[in-house]
């Protein structure tokens, strides 16, 4: 018996199946089209309804839909101005200032959260009973209480418990500056600022024109990082050739910081100390209460989440990996660097980034302590003074969305790159 065709086949010869409307309901291939058309129909209906309502409402309110207000004079002042701004400038410019403030806060917050989180995550795994308990308390307390409350608490701590600038005055002041350089007051913290005797001018970059001095320093720093990469690569080459890895830490330090120090000296960098003048300290850099409250509130709160992520990431790397490395004779330090960290980072980084995203979105709570971020400028005062809530809110959402999508886009690229290869 072999695989021949069967005579009975003729009876059941394929009939051509013509399209029949009922196939829209019962046929696998057409059914999904039906469903999608139905969904499209519902969606269009909903969208049409919404758009129609918006048009009607705008007409009834006698409003137009226009972003012209962005080019009108803002009229209000902003206390924290990373770029040149005064009340005569436009709402658009005010929004830009707010945006930069949002970014500044987000970056500072992420940095603090990361440092705290990594530290706490590692300490929580420590064998030291009391330390791990203490860190657990930190993590649980911060994770389970709303961030807004933390922000308010930090705001209140700053405003209520610190001495007023006037307490620094007089012959026998009740408060004094730390190292004569840092003043902690109920209006924020004043720290020395770095000034240059030689100003190289500004880099003309449209609305944001950074000082050339800082651009130069940044450039040198970046160059240093690249040079350091080269040094490490060189060390690896030497190791590959001879088996011995040359010591690089002093070279790295030199390359990373040497040129920067040189530039600082060349430009005549000096510190400007805050000084009590009139009502307030003048000079130096003023870290306002609002910034500090947001920074501490968001940073410490998010740090608690990151601690859990870091802990989980390290625990996710099975004990077997450490044992295998030990059994091969790798010392604990090298085991950490060559075996555990590269693997743990893959586990840690995606949730870490989504924490960064959350933190960035939470900067919009700045309103609670009067931090002039994008939401407070564009989404707050501008909307209020111009009455353009529809346009303002849409713009605001668009900007946040853009930030979020950028961050998560970067994360996807990272994920794709480090994905473990499997069968």
């Amino acid at each position: 018996m072999s695989s021949t065709t069967d005579p009975r086949m003729a009876e059941t010869a394929p009939k051509k199946r013509a399209f029949h409307p009922s196939m829209l309901l019962y046929d696998q291939r057409y059914r999904s089209i039906t469903i999608q058309i139905f969904a499209l129909f519902l969606l269009m209906l909903g969208a049409a309804w919404l758009i129609d309502n918006v048009i009607n409402n705008l007409r009834l309110l006698g409003r137009s839909f226009s972003f012209n207000f962005l080019w009108q004079s803002a009229g209000y002042d902003i206390n924290q101005r990373p770029i040149e701004y005064n009340s005569q400038m436009t709402h658009g410019r005010a929004a830009l200032v707010g945006f930069l403030n949002t970014i500044i806060l987000a970056i500072m917050g992420c940095a603090l959260a990361t440092v705290l989180g990594v530290l706490a995550g590692v300490l929580r795994l420590s064998k030291n009973w009391i330390v791990s308990r203490l860190v657990t308390v930190y993590v649980e307390i911060f994770r389970n209480i709303p961030t807004l409350i933390w922000i308010l608490i930090f705001g209140a701590v700053m405003a209520e418990s610190m001495p007023a600038p006037s307490a620094f005055r007089g012959d026998d002041p009740s408060a004094s500056m730390i190292f004569d350089a840092i003043a902690i007051t109920n209006r924020g913290v004043y720290v020395p600022a770095i000034l240059f005797t030689t100003e190289l001018g500004v880099l003309p970059l449209g609305p944001i024109s950074p000082s050339l001095n800082w651009v130069l320093i940044l450039a040198v720093l970046v160059a240093g990082v690249f040079a350091n990469k080269y040094i490490i690569a060189h060390a690896t080459r030497v190791q590959n050739a001879t088996g011995l890895r040359p010591k690089t830490w002093w070279k790295s330090l030199l390359v990373l910081f040497g040129p920067v120090v040189v530039i600082f000296l060349a430009l005549g960098a000096h510190l400007e100390y805050p000084e009590l003048r009139g009502f307030n300290f003048a000079g130096g850099t003023h870290l306002r209460n609002s910034l500090l409250a947001m920074w501490l509130g968001l940073g410490i709160y998010t740090g608690a989440f990151i601690a859990e992520i870091v802990r989980g990431g390290i625990l996710a790397i099975s004990k077997g990996q450490t044992e295998a490395a030990f059994a091969l004779g790798l010392q604990p330090g090298k085991t950490m660097r060559l075996v555990i960290l590269p693997q743990a980072l893959r586990v840690i980084i995606p949730p870490l980034i989504s924490q960064y995203l959350n933190l960035t979105k939470n900067t919009s709570l700045g309103l609670a302590v009067g931090y002039m971020d994008l939401r407070s400028t564009l989404g707050g005062i501008t909307i209020n003074q111009t009455g353009r809530e529809l346009e303002g809110m849409l713009l605001l959402m668009a900007v946040y969305l853009a930030i979020s999508l950028t961050i998560s886009g970067l994360m996807n690229v990272y994920n794709a790159r480090v994905k473990l290869k499997e069968r």
Partner: protein, 267 residues
Amino acid sequence: MTEIQLDPGIDRKIDTSAMKVTDEVAIQITGMNKWYGSFHVLRDINMTVNRGERIVICGPSGSGKSTLIRCINRLEEHQAGQIIVDGTELSGDLKNIDKVRSEVGMVFQHFNLFPHLTILENCTLAPIWVRKVPKREAEETAMHFLEKVKIPEQANKFPGQLSGGQQQRVAIARSLCMKPRIMLFDEPTSALDPEMIKEVLDTMIALAEEGMTMLCVTHEMGFAQAVANRVIFMDQGQIVEQNEPREFFNNPQSDRTKLFLSQILGH
């Protein structure tokens, strides 16, 4: 007692020419005791392993087999007694530990390959960072051992892309790359599918044929009969019986051993 059948996998003739037991002591364990908390897991272990010996350790689950061999490269700390490996006594001294670990290779039940490194990188990592061997040379050695375990063509893949048997062979190659003088195996085949067990046992036999000193926790009795020169039976943290394999299987002395053998060979 039924006559034990060899594992069907071990069908080729085994070349015992290099499998000579010398007089030189490789591992010397004296009066060793270990506790986990207050649980006495290893009790008064005394044992000498000469260079070239191939020892199989068996015993019921929880009897302390793994713990014993993990003490030998100090993955576990013992609390009393003495372990001397290749003349180096294991104590808290970190230098001694490093020295012993780089002389003793270990293969785990679950392979424990590093998933973020390629097969080749897995094999060269320790030679480069511990033995300070130039990379080129380390790679040559690695390829040599990968050929020996018959998977040179997988060198640039990642562990996740290999089958279990292949992974275990890589794990063996990785240990061999450190040119250890002693190899420890902790149930190297028990996480594998039957077809793959053969691949791994073959590799281990080849190793034995070259005269490697081996301690192997395993329940592959075919392997024990064919390769081991001594079988140690443990129970409740103690060495209950040891003997050369033929005697051990056909003429067990202690009741516990009999019971154990009837269980693993009976069905």
